[in-house]
Structures are given as C-alpha cells and as structure tokens.
Assembly symmetry: C2
Homo-oligomer: 226 residues x 2
C-alpha cells in the first residue's frame, strides 16, 4: 500500500528527523535520499521551489513540503497508530503547541544557543527560558511521560530539536546550557525518555556526528538555519 | 448542536475575520465578544495566556487559539460544507500554502506597506512581490475563481489580509501600492471576487473604519501587529 514513497532529507536536520520518526512509528517503508544543503540538488529545487528546503516527501510522484504538513499527511493517509489525538479539541491543542514550538520555542532556543557572550546572551537566554517554561508547565500539567501521554505523540515529534540538538549544541559546542535540570526538571526527564526510547535511539542522528558538524559550522561562522 | 460557542476578537483583525467567515460559511451560531488590544481584557489573558492574542474560540468552556488552528477545529467539528479539501494530498497542499501565507506573504506585505520611502521601501516591495508572485502563479495554475476552486476555501480564508487590508492600507493610508493590476492581474481579479462575494461583503470590516484606524495608528506611529 505504501508504494512509491520517497523522502528527501539531510541527516542532520531535526525537521527531517521528525518525518523519519513518524514513518518509523507507523511502520511505513520508504526510500530515503540524502540531499546536500550546501549544494542543493536540482531534484530538491524542483520538488520544493517555494522554500527550497528539506524535508520533502514524495508520494506517488507528488511532493509535500514542510515537516508538520508532511506529518499530518502521513497521519491521515496511514491512520493506524494515530499520531495526532483523535478528539478534535485535543487535536487543536496539539496543533497549537506544535506551531508554538516552530514559531517561538525553536527560534528562541536557537538564537540563545548561538548568542555571543555578554548581555546579548543573557537576554537571548531569558527569552528562551520564557518560551521553555510554557512547555515545562504543559508537560508538568499533563503529568505523563510525553506531551502525547504515555507514548510519543505529535507535540513530542514537533519538539524533537530540544532533547537532542539543543542539548548537544549547548553542552558540546557553544557552552550555552539552556535545558538544565535545575531550571527544567520535567523537560529534562522528558528529554531522557525521548532519547532513550526506541524511536529516539534509532532516529536521532549520532551525537559525535552532530557535534562535529556544528563545531565545523562554528569554526567557519556559517550556522545553518535548516 | 453548536451550543455554548463564543468568539473573542477585535473588529479590525484579519485573523479574527478568518474565523468569522468560516463560522458564517458553516452557518454556525455563536456569541461574539469584542476585546480591546490596547487594553486587553482579563478574559483574553486567561483564555490565551501564551500569546495574549485574538482570536480565541471558546467551545463548551474550552479555549482554542490561533486562527488556522481554530479553523481546522471548526472544519472537523462541523464537517458539512468542508472548508479544507477532502483528499489528504490536497489538504496537505492547502495547509502548505496557508502556512506560507502566514510565515512569508503577510509579514513581507505588511513590512512593505509600512516601509519608509527610499531604498528600504524598494527592497521591501521587491520581497513582497517575490512572495506574491508565487500566489499569483498558484492561482493562475489552478485556473479557478478561488484558490479553493469555484468556492472560497481554506487558502482563500488564510489569504484574507490581501484583498481588503493590504489594498486599503496601500491605497488609502501609506501609498505603497503592492497588489496592482499590471503586476498581479490574477490576484486582483481574485481580490474583487472575494470582496464582492456574500461572505466578503458581510465580513470584511467597513472600509472607512479600517482606513481611519490605520491612519490614526500611522499618526501616532503605533502600528499594531495583531
């Protein structure tokens, strides 16, 4: 049934990782094709002419871009093991938080991680803390292992930058530690659960590779935004 | 069935207008409550503590924020006259464009509309043109009256800032005309169809009121972003 499914991505992107995780959780077979953001393939430019970004999922020859859009598509097309909640209100809440992560949390955390020492860093960290505190409170209120409940769900997948990239870049590359146990105990516990889960272990890219990649980026001052 | 449905909004917001249009298209009864962005109500802060923005839809006492999230909720909860396409691929495409409008088109057009004369304006307009050209091409390719086909659909609703606010602000307030017939003939025809439709005529706020509002904002240099 899955037939003719191809994912165009790059190994180091949390957005691509989101899609790979969901495809794995659904048990869907697909062909993965690695692109190169420093030298984008004609295929990528053809499939996503608007943003020229990965991931792009191609199903029966038809492309879909934007990770959250792709994930909703997968969840609608392969409805077993639903990733989004089934109840419309709960779905709306999940979409709200996924969008909040994309629009607010990730940009603020990214900015803080790469902020120069001094006042700028302090302000950037404060902003990131403010965003993360809302997620900490949400997770605490839900009182479950994951945002999605006992299992990894849509919001967890949307937040996948935090437990892996944000921690690795902060601890091993820039020294800007944002997600600390004292400040965010619930998120830190969640991060451990997520990275230690079978989906996390199988799909978060190798730590050493991520660290080397961002160290190289740091050295050449070319921080990628994709 | 609709029972206990309240929308918190402000009259001048395209985001609130999106929701009002969809509620009207679905024939759903609701209570509308006007807020004041200059002096936000305790109710707004309670219902949307994360963004503190309108619109907020409250259904059976439970709040939903973010206009596109609200619209998907309405479409799921009242599935007659579906607003999003029924086919999963077409739904994904509609979500992709709605997101593109929110993330790229509207911010670029807004920036251009309020850009100061000179080089800055030229660059801002060029960026807005680039974004709008993609919508012009999409509409041309679809070769229908609306992005949604023969009837107003999800992408049209998402793009509702363009046919009314963008044109009014450009023509009557700042003088930055972006959506011109020579450059965007298909979008201009679409804008006329949209504003002339029964939904447009009933729900776009009064021209004079919009113009006075933004002229006052311009005079006090306090351009609202909501």
């Amino acid at each position: 049934m899955e037939g003719d499914l191809m994912l165009l991505g790059v190994w180091g992107s949390p957005f691509v990782c989101r899609v790979r995780m969901v495809l794995a959780m659904k048990g869907i077979d697909y062909v993965y094709r690695e692109d190169d953001l420093m030298n984008k393939s004609p295929l990528l430019l053809e499939l996503n002419p608007v943003h020229k970004k990965v991931p792009v999922l191609v199903h029966h020859g038809k492309p879909i871009a934007e990770s959250l859009v792709i994930i909703e598509y997968i969840d609608e097309k392969w409805p077993d093991n639903p990733l989004l909640p089934v109840d419309p209100y709960d779905r709306a809440v999940a979409r709200f938080w996924a969008r909040y992560i994309d629009d607010k949390v990730n940009p603020a955390v990214w900015k803080a991680l790469w902020s120069p020492p001094g006042e700028g860093r302090e302000a950037a960290c404060e902003e990131a803390y403010e965003m993360l505190e809302k997620l900490e409170a949400l997770l605490k209120e839900g009182d479950k292992k994951y945002f999605g409940g006992d299992n990894i769900g849509y919001v967890d997948i949307a937040a996948n930058f935090l437990p892996h990239w944000a921690i690795l870049i902060g601890e091993e590359v820039t020294g800007v530690r944002i997600l600390t146990e004292d400040r965010f105990p619930v998120l830190c516990e969640w991060a451990k659960n997520f990275t230690g889960s079978s989906i996390g272990a199988a799909h978060f890219p190798e730590k050493e590779k991520v660290v080397s990649f961002f160290k190289a980026m740091q050295a050449t001052k070319s921080i990628p935004y994709t």
